[in-house]
Symmetry: C2
Subunit: 300 residues, 2 copies
């Protein structure tokens, strides 16, 4: 009995935010996520990836978290013998000063998912997408209502609000409905830039995870420079979430968490009243899971 021998591969979703644009590190001029074999010498998966990223890119890797492990049959690689297991990670990189618009290897998230950026209102492309999805719903007979609910929920239709966390569900629905090139549809009828194999799905997984996480863990600061203004911080969160936020309330939220402190300096780069500079209070670091219970505790 041949038991579970397989190739192990690491895939990284490395993200940074430059100015207002969330970006991901790619190879093959934007067609694939960086990946490599899991070498035997490494102490752990985490350590292996960290080391490997340090070598490949100049950037030091701040935050690193495991995303998901894929091993579907259709992912079999070159050789028939054995299957490939892909272990994906999400990493956050602090983009130092140099935005480098044309930096090779870094591509904007929303090239791949143009329907996910709602900062300028609901993107026009969504009308076309949901139109095609309606056809797909109508094409089903047996479980049509179930399908309709899934679409309405994921895309904020029929009274439901747009939920930025559902990027993965949206991509998977579009895949099922044959609206993306990876599903085999013609490039002319597909939406967003496609990627090699299932890399775009892995990217969607990473984006969704990060969007969910910034709400209850102070991970945004892994993307910020040493000192920053509140507006910069807000624009970074907005870039990740693909949404615009209410300024006064954002500021209230931030300072009641006591995650940052003033540096004492100010900057007048943006033309207008100079903004105070802040820094992250490293004292809180890993600890502190914001808020919490949500369960109605009793006093015992």
């Amino acid at each position: 009995m041949t038991i579970g021998l397989a190739h192990a591969e690491l895939i990284a979703v490395l993200s940074a935010v430059t100015g207002d644009e969330p970006r991901v590190m790619t190879v093959r001029s934007g067609d694939a996520l960086p990946s490599g074999p899991f070498e035997l010498g490494h102490r752990s998966l985490q350590a292996g990836l960290r080391e490997w990223v340090g070598d490949q890119t100049g950037h030091p890797l701040g935050y690193l978290e495991q995303l998901y492990t894929f091993a579907d049959r259709d992912r079999t690689h070159e050789d028939a013998e054995g299957r490939t297991i892909s272990i994906s990670y999400l990493g956050l990189v602090r983009e130092q000063a140099a935005p480098g618009a044309g930096k090779p290897g870094w591509h904007g998230w929303y090239e791949y998912f143009p329907w996910e950026d709602h900062r300028g209102g609901r993107p026009e492309i969504l009308a076309a997408i949901t139109g095609r999805l309606q056809d797909w719903v109508a094409a089903e007979t047996a479980r049509r209502e179930h399908r309709r609910r899934r679409v309405d929920f994921a895309f904020g239709l029929d009274g439901a609000a747009w939920n930025e966390d559902l990027g993965l569900q949206r991509y998977e629905l579009m895949y099922e409905a044959g609206l993306v090139a990876e599903a085999g549809c013609s490039p002319a009828k597909s939406f967003g830039r496609s990627m090699f194999a299932d890399h775009r799905r892995i990217l969607a997984t990473g984006i969704a995870r990060l969007r969910a996480k910034i709400k209850y863990r102070p991970v945004v600061f892994e993307l910020m420079p040493e000192s920053f203004t509140l507006s910069q911080l807000q624009r970074t969160v907005e870039a990740l979430a693909g949404l615009t936020l209410h300024k006064p309330n954002f500021r209230r939220l931030i300072d009641q968490q006591e995650l940052i402190e003033e540096t004492g300096e100010a900057t007048s780069e943006t033309g207008g009243r100079p903004a105070k500079l802040f820094r992250y209070r490293h004292a809180v670091l890993e600890e502190r899971a914001l808020s919490g219970s949500k369960l109605p505790l009793s006093r015992n």
Copy 2:
């Protein structure tokens, strides 16, 4: 170059709640979690595990979710050639009627983590644990404050409240401090029942994930019978969280989510006023992520 050839193994944390006790399926009379090789024939990891569990146990598997993939060097198996990659899953099983107290294979969570059950107040064993942890903090010189903060936060000391979600962090701290048998300390000085290899850590991962998830996703219902009373539901949540909840507020929480509906029947099993029976509204199923934003949106 030998690239990433490894053994692949699936490990399952299968949980159920019988009465007031959360349980996990084990093998080797409670010393290990069920696991098996990842066979090549399966369509995907998920499908492979689901099929395998169906064969091994009679129970159908309701909910299934990937937990984490481990591949640390110290996990190397029998043969030196190649490393073992363990992909762990969390599965929820609906315990049908028969509680079977002495059911072989099912053990209570709190045998392994006696300090995690706070339903009867703060467990006495915690005093001993935190005492030993204080020694461990004192033994550090360079980063003593960091260590102290980690301990205080994880165990709810020095003003911090007990947070049921931090079970994994607590176990890892105890491992670091050498308070569990798996870390090589003498059985006399260790806390809780130990398991084979890193299985107890995987169990802690599953418990922590489930405790966090019941707060924002209706997964509890995967553990409930077809119809149930509100008290039963509350006791199940309490068993998982290891906490007692405020009854009136729990009921308010439940019915404002509109996740359940009355069956029309009632039961008078518990002696007292008969309780109405409810059933889960399957209409909402996968959809609906409870609540959501937490980010201060603007009206655009």
